[in-house]
Symmetry: C2
């Protein structure tokens, strides 16, 4: 079923677009590049938010809210920052509309021009550090560990649902520290939080590393990142955490009295993940039948569908399933009973496959007579018939198993699509098949640029937490301190 | 202590501003009219959000997310709507900045002018109904019960933290129905949800009613509202729920096939509460010592402060209090132990009074020797010494008591400040003292306008759920179908 979904083999990109829309995750809006996140998609995002928020709070962070708008002059204060964002900014210039003189519709009131234009935040370092200036005087005010859940706008020219949209939802952490070391530890810690979230909740393995200078965040000294591999062999940057040094403290003159009474600039980090994770989730697990959701993020974990002909049979299904339903809910499992009479069971099966519900339960008169139920797994598309007695425990275990299976499958896929190469020839051949490629690189932006131009591959990260061995650059033959990871990327 | 707080008697408005800032709820930002919600303030808002979200979901609603921007042309489609909002809109006209030709800073790139200007949403009816057009074909697609948590922008000229800001956070529900009756029931139901939330969580009594035509939402047929009374005798509109009729369905051509196969326009509601509730919360309960928070919304419900001189005394306090702390946490009570050695107990007492922590526990060597603790209530500023044994149960009950006490105190205040008048003379006299005034009104906008001009009082609501009795208008002597409620308002 789910007939209208393009297959991945036929056209991966079209498959993704079809799936996001047909599974009711999101759709394009009337506003160029902006999406509507539909209720089912938003329910998944809410689950991501809730868990991330919990992890942020467990690591000592609190939430706050800063203005949507940033005065243009703030933007210019950190040179590389403005360089990185100026070309994709939505700019507010006026604050009033009026009736058009010809009586047809409304026009911008030119008398209501702002003295200074306001930028719709593409990220909030500047407005936040301008605020921190008043919050930080002494080492006693540090660290400041603050996160914000917000919408941001980057005027991207080519947009795709979740992956790259003009407006997106995200969280941005902005922390202030007394020492360089503490700030670096924070930046690394948050990469770790993202990595753990990706693994344990999204069932998505990620590589941890730092970005090369070319790929660094505009204004950062070091950008830590997690990189995932999609089913089409392209990499996806799933989260970044930046050590910002004293760049923003200097731009906004944020100093503190340290314990010895000396005035010092404050050290900073920022880190974020966005609704882009929704795209990563879709592309990591889903198949030609539709979405496949890890149970921990599935809005509906178990769907129950009656097989019946008569009202009596439907009633007896409801009675039959009721106790199991209660037991599942008691275990904190989200259950939906779809007893609509407007759709046939086959249609419902396809619908919940499309929506990625991890476990489907069906029962008809024969199951009821035999005290059994049919259980179908979305991840493997396998079915089995089990006794209804103890089914609650069985399903609870099954959800855990599915979560683990999805992660292990993704690990296997990534391993199969990760290669080490020693020559540029080999690199150029392998990159055509997609996947991560470990290769030696001489550390220069020039070589990186040449590889990008010739192969469309970028350095996804310089791995950390992995051993490294010296070698020679595949392009220039110059010395390399260790292999870095290349891929074509979203 | 809390010496820098202006007293309410001296200057209520200044007291409010002082309090919001000194209690770390919010502050003004560098962007005109936009506030920074500080972590402590945001923690209260998060508690409000969590409970409201729960109540929305329990009444069948789901969350989604719609674009921040609205094309200007959408705005014009509903005539009274654009009339209501056009004068306070932030308008995006460009999508790029560039280096200024003189090399000094950045300027708007005039080559990147939008073909059609975008409005930063002041409310989302138009963009949402333009989307609903594609979601609704048949009665089977109805009702649509969707809520959005979002930021909105209204370019207000005179702003005040939380009460009236250019950008604020809110939720906006937008529902679509097959019948007029169902939509009216929905609009009334959501007023009820708001009213329940105000009473049970904010400990804030509210009147329920409908707005007069003058005060109705731009585009609504009927606006339901809840109105609270602040300590200075001014009313505050705390939430509104609108029956929109078919206005937006007609403006965006949203029709559905009903059960009989007839094509009909869809019926709509919208409803919202915002960070304005934070202002209402502050002004309902707080005093000259600072914030007073109802326990259900307090980020910290119990604070424990050691009275000590030596490190040994501090250690023994921690041991002494530890078991009680665990028991409170087990009961779901949020506890903070403030054992900082940088501040004296007296300073801490004042600090948590300012922050409105409902219960303060202190213990020194003498308490420890006697197996007692000192408990202070923020609402009554009373203290008592009780045995530490069973203190957990005592405190748990006390938090409930404080919640109820705050509500009852507010009810008493409102009753003392609610008057029925029979003549315009009496009205003009009473209105000077503030409070709600019940008076007969002839139902015309002209009379309402006259009263507003002469007394600054507006009709807060036409009460529902209260009995009404015919009479004669206090101004014109014409027939009145029942008293309405006047007040000067925020």
């Amino acid at each position: 079923m789910a007939k209208e979904l393009t297959s991945r083999e036929e056209n991966y990109s079209q498959w993704y677009n079809d799936l996001v829309q047909k599974a009711d995750l999101a759709e394009t809006s009337a506003v160029r590049g902006c999406m509507v996140i539909k209720p089912y998609g938003y329910a998944i995002w809410e689950k991501m938010q809730a868990q991330l928020d919990k992890m942020f709070k467990e690591t000592g962070h609190v939430n706050a809210y800063f203005p949507l708008f940033i005065p243009k002059s703030f933007f210019s204060k950190e040179a590389s920052h403005v360089e990185g964002f100026a070309k994709e900014c939505a700019v507010v210039t006026h604050y009033r509309l009026k009736n058009s003189p010809d009586g047809k519709g409304i026009v911008v009131d030119e008398d209501a021009k702002l003295e200074e234009e306001l930028i719709v935040r593409p990220t909030s370092e500047t407005i936040i550090w301008n605020t921190y200036k008043n919050w930080i005087q002494s080492y006693r005010d540090l660290p400041l560990l603050i996160n914000q859940w917000a919408n941001v706008v980057r005027w991207e020219m080519r947009t795709r649902l979740f992956l790259r949209t003009a407006e997106f939802l995200w969280q941005e952490g902005h922390t202030a520290h007394a020492t360089k070391e503490e700030a670096i530890i924070e930046a690394e810690k948050m990469m770790g939080v993202y990595s753990q979230f990706a693994r344990e909740w999204m069932a998505m393995p990620v590589l941890e590393g730092v970005k090369s200078a070319n790929e660094r965040f505009a204004g950062a000294i070091e950008t830590y990142c997690i990189e995932a591999l999609m089913q089409d062999g392209k990499a996806l940057q799933a989260g970044t955490s930046h050590f910002l040094g004293q760049n923003f403290a200097k731009a906004f003159d944020v100093k503190f009295l340290d314990k010895t009474g000396k005035l010092e600039y404050v050290w900073a980090t920022s880190w974020g993940v966005s609704t882009r994770l929704m795209g990563a989730l879709v592309m990591t697990h889903s198949d030609d039948h539709g979405l496949v959701l890890p149970p921990k993020l599935a809005p509906i974990q178990v769907v129950m569908i009656p097989i019946y002909k008569t009202q009596e049979e439907l009633d007896s299904f409801k009675d039959y399933i009721n106790n199991l339903k209660s037991k599942l809910i008691e275990k904190g499992i989200s259950v939906k009973v779809d007893d609509r009479d407007t759709h046939k069971p086959g249609w419902k099966f396809a619908e919940y496959e499309l929506k990625g519900v991890p476990v489907r339960i069906a029962a008809g008169p024969r199951d009821i007579a035999g005290n059994t139920i049919e259980i179908a797994r979305r991840d493997t598309l396998t079915k089995e018939v089990i006794p209804i007695e103890n089914a609650a425990d069985y399903i609870s275990d099954l959800l855990d198993k599915i979560q683990i299976n999805l992660y292990e499958k993704s690990i296997v896929f990534r391993n199969q699509n990760t290669h080490h190469v020693n020559t540029y020839e080999e690199f150029k051949m392998k990159i055509e098949d997609g996947g991560f490629i470990y290769a030696h690189w001489d550390g220069t932006p020039e070589t990186e640029e040449k590889i990008k131009e010739e192969t469309k591959a970028t350095i996804r990260c310089i791995p950390i937490n992995e051993g490294s061995e010296e070698g020679t650059c595949i392009v220039t033959g110059k010395k390399s301190v260790g292999k870095v990871i290349f891929a074509r990327a979203y």
